[in-house]
Assembly symmetry: C2
Homo-oligomer: 120 residues x 2
DNA sequence: TGCAAGCCTGCACACCTGTGCAGGTGTCAG
DNA sequence: CTGACACCTGCACAGGTGTGCAGGCTTGCA
């Protein structure tokens, strides 16, 4: 089990076996990078509040989200643009109102098992 | 069920009932802020790789973590300092070696149900 | 058609943060 | 005692990012 890439093979290691296990645990670099970007979207209190509201409540309009979170509507709009570009939410037009909802199952699971699961 | 704070009571709302549901879903502001900071720590590929390695493999030294992730040891040290200050990891000295391990159960759950759970 | 509501965009500002390098401290082996 | 190793720290740089404001666009209602 020689998972150490060639460009690091000459480095000293304390426990070579565990290093290989760790490399296997990390897995694909692209996968890790994609998840880091996902977590970056959750790393802002405003966006996290929006996602929690959408996760539990269902389709909501920008104005209502602004009132619920205490943000101003341009900030909500800007946040939703990022979340929509990342594929986490989608919006459906209903007259002059656009209702947004959470569509990413992985994020929903993280919210449920993480943020909502560890509420004291 | 009037959960709308007084300073936003004069705002227009599309669906007042859902706004209250959303406010309840968001919960305590401090709780959300604390989780946003947690997610910020996961939002860097280097730190995320370190946490994945520690989560699956167990106690690991800085040098081994550097080899496993491809980072330089000052970067690993800097990342571990942040993670330790946040209470996510702890290190135990063994001679001149310090082995780190993941101690935050909430983060472990997020890694298991999120990153590792959605590996295709 | 005119007006208001809902939503979006652009720009400029300050702030934070990741990165690399050089060098320092403490610990163990010979 | 001396050297090598493991780990840590400080500093300066570049880059990304959240924030606020002003204003524009589209839609629906009277």
């Amino acid at each position: 089990m020689h998972l150490v890439p060639a460009d690091r093979a000459d480095h000293r290691t304390i426990d070579g076996h565990r290093v290989c296990e760790a490399i296997a645990a990390i897995g694909d670099t692209e996968h890790v990078r994609a998840w880091a970007e996902r977590f970056a979207l959750l790393a802002d209190p405003g966006r996290l509040s929006l996602l929690l509201a959408l996760h539990e409540t269902g389709p909501l309009a920008v104005t209502d989200l602004a009132v619920a979170t205490g943000m101003r509507d341009p900030a909500v709009s800007q946040a939703l643009r990022l979340l929509r570009a990342a594929g986490l939410v989608t919006g459906e037009r209903d007259g002059r109102i656009i209702r947004y909802r959470l569509v990413d199952p992985a994020i929903a699971e993280v919210l449920a098992h993480g943020v909502l699961g560890y509420r004291d």
